[in-house]
Structures are given as structure tokens and as C-alpha cells.
């Protein structure tokens, strides 16, 4: 059944697929993961702070983000952020936010909701006595978080964080709605230009699978390496 397939289309276009498409996909994944983990950790700390109001704000944010489809959020931000920016600065026209910046902000804010739940579980997995011991030594809340609680929470949760990052890697393909050329977008454009839809989508699937599979193997190895001796 593959007799009339032409896989040469991949060879002809690999530079475009990988240097343009995959580079964008990996860049967006990495930046959004880092931003999402940092923001998510702050949201988790807000949620667990025990202060008035802050936990409610964090909770509403997380539940709101998690109940919206990602594509909707991408759209929403792309069309709305320029107007919000205009409103904040008081400019005459909607401020220009590039498709890349817009997608990066969107993914960071969206993934932060998921990462915050992971970090919340991580922080709660640390025995209360650890915080008490840090306090008893005179460490402040931020010192205790930075040197004692978060390093342990992060290590405990690293496998889950990386698994979520693999999901993020797959989700970045949704930026096609902004006509951005990520890996899937590049494959799609070539496929339609050359009329080789089946070959290209098959190839794209194999690449996504390979990347995710290798990544999950690495996660498992890393998990063993960073485990805290107890």
C-alpha cells in the first residue's frame, strides 16, 4: 500500500521542518515550562500561604484556567492582549504583540495552573517538621522555602513536572491557530504544497512519538538519580 507514496518529500524539506519548525516547538516548550514552573510555584505558595484572600485568588485562577480549552485561551490572548495592553498603557492603538510572544505568554499562564497543582502536592508532601526545623533555626519564610522546602518538593515532583512538560510539548502544536510555523505547522504546509498529506502526517507522528518516548525514558533515569536518600 506504500507503493505510490513518496517519502522523498521529507528529505527535500527536512531543513524547514527541523530548523524552523522543531526549533520553534522546542523553544516554546522550554520557555513555557520554565515560566510555568516558576509562576506555578508562586501560585502554589499563595494557595498554601494561609494568608487572607491570596489562597482564594490562586484557587480561582487555577480552576478558571483548567476549565478552559487551551485553543480558546490561545485565541483569547492573541486577540485580547493588544487591547488590554492599550488600556493599561493608555495608548491610542492596540499594542502589537507578536504571535510568538502571545503564544509564550498564553502557554506560560495556562501551564502555570497545572504546574501549580503539581508543586502544591510537592510542598504538601514535605513533613511539617521540616518547616518547623527551618523556622527554629531562624530562617525566614522565604529562606525556608528557598533552601529547605522547595528543593525537596521539586525533587519529589520532578518526574511529574517533566511528564507535564511532555504534554506541553505536544500541546504546542495548537499554535497552528495563530498561523505560527511550529513543527506540525511546517509539516502541514509542506504536505499541502506538495500534495503529500499522508506521508508528512505519518512522519510528524513518528517524530512526536520518538521525542516523547525518549524524553520519558530520560525522566525515568533522572528520577533514580535525583531521589533523596531516606
Amino acid at each position: 500500500m506504500f507503493s505510490n507514496f513518496d517519502f522523498g518529500v521529507i528529505l527535500n524539506s527536512w531543513r524547514y521542518l527541523f530548523l524552523d519548525g522543531m526549533t520553534f516547538t522546542l523553544t516554546l516548550t522550554a520557555l513555557a515550562a520554565v515560566g510555568g514552573v516558576i509562576l506555578g510555584t508562586l501560585i502554589a505558595m499563595m494557595r498554601l500561604s494561609g494568608l487572607p484572600v491570596l489562597p482564594q485568588i490562586a484557587k480561582v485562577y487555577v480552576n478558571f484556567m483548567r476549565s478552559l480549552p487551551l485553543v480558546l485561551v490561545i485565541f483569547w490572548f492573541y486577540f485580547l492582549v493588544p487591547y488590554i495592553g492599550q488600556w493599561i498603557i493608555g495608548a491610542e492603538r492596540p499594542i502589537q504583540v507578536g504571535a510568538f510572544s502571545s503564544s509564550l505568554i498564553t502557554f506560560t499562564l495556562f501551564e502555570a495552573a497545572y504546574f501549580s497543582e503539581i508543586m502544591r502536592a510537592g510542598i504538601q508532601s514535605i513533613p511539617k517538621g521540616q518547616g518547623a526545623a527551618a523556622s527554629a533555626l531562624g530562617l525566614t519564610y522565604w529562606q525556608s522555602m528557598g533552601s529547605v522546602i522547595l528543593p525537596q518538593a521539586f525533587r519529589n515532583m520532578l518526574p511529574v513536572l517533566l511528564t507535564q512538560t511532555i504534554v506541553l510539548f505536544q500541546d504546542t502544536s495548537l499554535v497552528y491557530v495563530l498561523s505560527i510555523t511550529d513543527f506540525l505547522g511546517a509539516a502541514s504546509k509542506i504536505a499541502q504544497r506538495d500534495g503529500r498529506l499522508v506521508e508528512m502526517y505519518l512522519f510528524a507522528a513518528v517524530v512526536y512519538f520518538t521525542v516523547c518516548f525518549i524524553a520519558s525514558l530520560l525522566v525515568r533515569r533522572l528520577q533514580r538519580r535525583v531521589a533523596i536518600i531516606r
Partner: protein, 285 residues
């Protein structure tokens, strides 16, 4: 909690043949005396005055009043659930309380203006479950707070940590992680970690309750030595042997209140209160 689990505290030492036979107990013994002089205060080191605490409707502490003067060793004992651990955690404000007042070295701990981290850095605390930081090496466990709180350099903090580690007989384990040590060794590291901050007073919250019986002695030995050097100590423990030997004052608590307090001979030898008598007969058998 049976009497058989209570190991004898080593008797008045032939020059502390303690703990893993630490070499050089001599020079390190001076470490504790090099701390900056305690600012002269007229009051006691710790004054607990009419402290009451509730969890919701349930009252865990009822009008507790006692004090610890400089150089004194106060042992708090009593049945589980009597509030003794809660009381000692109130002293460095790890637990809030609703009524009464606690002052440490003249500073009111419940005062909103009190800089709690600063106060706590001067009050050493040892926990039932050690609470070493499992992701840090023993060296880092000992130097973390010295560097972050006292602003000591890494070299200074590590040297201080190592000297104290030698003092508790664990110098050879400096590079290891807490999970690689036994319970007794971890608790000795925890004591060294607290001492590294040059505390003006040490709080011990059931320091031997989570240990296997054969490891209780090595931890008590370190505490006895500390007491002999004049450290001000407040100790919550079931080890009545320790209380008898080193305590200046024994406080007996039951149901959130202080039932009686006095010298070990008074409280452990001839208690006035019936509740103390029944507790002692249950523990000693």
C-alpha cells in the same frame, strides 16, 4: 512506654568516655564558652506566665506558669497528651497560644514587633524526629542556617560545624546524607546543628522518643555533657533517669496543666500530688 525501655544514663563520667569515642573532647569543649556574653537581664531566661492554648474548643494548655533561669536544666515530664510538647513549642513560637505571656531573654515572643526569626536563631531546638534536611549533606545541614541567618562565611560555618560534629563524635560522617545515618547519629547531628548557632538556651522536644532503645544512651550522653557545661536547657522527655541525674527542676504536667514542680528529689522522690504518683508508678513500675 514501659520501664524496661529506659536505659540507665551513664553515671558521673570518668572523663566522658562518651559517644563513638570522640578524640579531642578537650579542645572542643571550649566551643560553648566562646559564645558572645549574654546581655545582662534581670529576669529568667525563659518565663512562661499563665499560658493557655486552645485548638478550637479544645483546651490543650491551661494557665501554665514556670520559668528557666540561666544555666538551669528543667525537665518537663508527664503522660502523652499532657501538652508538654505543645508547651515547649510555644517557647519559640512554633505554636501560637491565645492567653498568657512567654518571654525569652527578656523578649516577649507573642509581641507583634518581635523579630521571630532573629529570636529563634538564638534558641536551639531539637525535635523528636530529628528533622535534618534530607537533601543536604551533614556538612550543609550544619552550615545552612549559620550562613543564611548569622551571615557567616562558608569556611567559617563549615569549620564550626565540623568542630561540633567532632564534639558529638561524628566527624567521619560529615560528607554523608542524613538518610545514611542511624537515628541516634541523626539526633546527635541535630544537636550539633542547633549548637552551631551559639544558642543562649536549648529546647529538647522528646529527643529520644523516636529512637531505638540501644541508641537512646548516646544521645543522652551528649545532653548530659551539655548540661554539665552549663547550657540552659528545657527538656521534654520520658527519660526519668536523665531527669534524676541532671535536672535542677522537674516539672510534671497532666491534661494541659502544670501539676507540680520542684527538684528531682521532690517531684520524683516524694511527689505531693496523686496524679504524679500514679504516673511515676506507671513509668517506673
Amino acid at each position: 512506654m514501659t520501664s524496661s525501655a529506659m536505659p540507665p544514663v551513664s553515671p558521673v563520667p570518668e572523663p566522658q568516655a562518651a559517644v563513638d569515642a570522640a578524640p579531642g573532647t578537650g579542645p572542643v569543649g571550649t566551643l560553648l564558652t566562646e559564645r558572645p556574653p549574654v546581655p545582662a537581664t534581670t529576669g529568667p531566661m525563659i518565663a512562661i506566665d499563665g499560658v493557655s492554648k486552645w485548638y478550637g474548643d479544645f483546651q490543650v494548655l491551661t494557665n501554665c506558669t514556670t520559668s528557666v533561669t540561666k544555666g538551669e536544666v528543667v525537665v518537663v515530664c508527664g503522660p502523652s497528651g499532657s501538652g508538654k510538647s505543645t508547651l515547649i513549642k510555644c517557647v519559640n513560637a512554633l505554636e501560637p497560644f491565645q492567653k498568657g505571656q512567654i518571654t525569652v531573654d527578656g523578649t516577649k515572643i507573642a509581641d507583634k514587633k518581635t523579630n521571630l526569626p532573629k529570636l529563634r536563631s538564638r534558641v536551639g531546638m531539637v525535635f523528636q524526629h530529628f528533622e535534618l534536611f534530607p537533601h543536604l549533606s551533614i556538612t550543609d545541614n550544619l552550615s545552612l542556617a549559620q550562613r543564611k541567618v548569622l551571615g557567616r562565611s562558608r569556611d567559617e560555618a563549615e569549620a564550626k560545624g565540623l568542630a561540633l560534629l567532632e564534639r558529638v563524635g561524628l566527624k567521619a560522617h560529615a560528607h554523608k546524607f542524613p538518610g545514611q545515618l542511624s537515628g541516634g547519629q541523626q539526633q546527635r547531628v541535630a544537636i550539633a546543628r542547633a549548637l552551631a548557632m551559639n544558642p543562649i538556651v536549648m529546647l529538647f522536644d522528646e529527643p529520644t522518643s523516636a529512637l531505638d532503645p540501644e541508641m537512646v544512651g548516646e544521645v543522652l550522653d551528649v545532653m548530659v555533657e551539655l548540661a554539665r557545661e552549663g547550657m540552659t536547657m528545657m527538656v521534654v522527655t520520658h527519660e526519668l533517669g536523665f531527669a534524676r541525674e541532671v535536672a535542677d527542676t522537674v516539672v510534671y504536667m497532666d491534661q494541659g496543666g502544670i501539676v507540680e514542680a520542684g527538684t528531682p528529689a521532690e517531684v520524683l522522690g516524694g511527689p505531693r500530688e496523686a496524679r504524679t504518683r500514679s504516673f511515676l508508678s506507671a513509668v517506673i513500675g
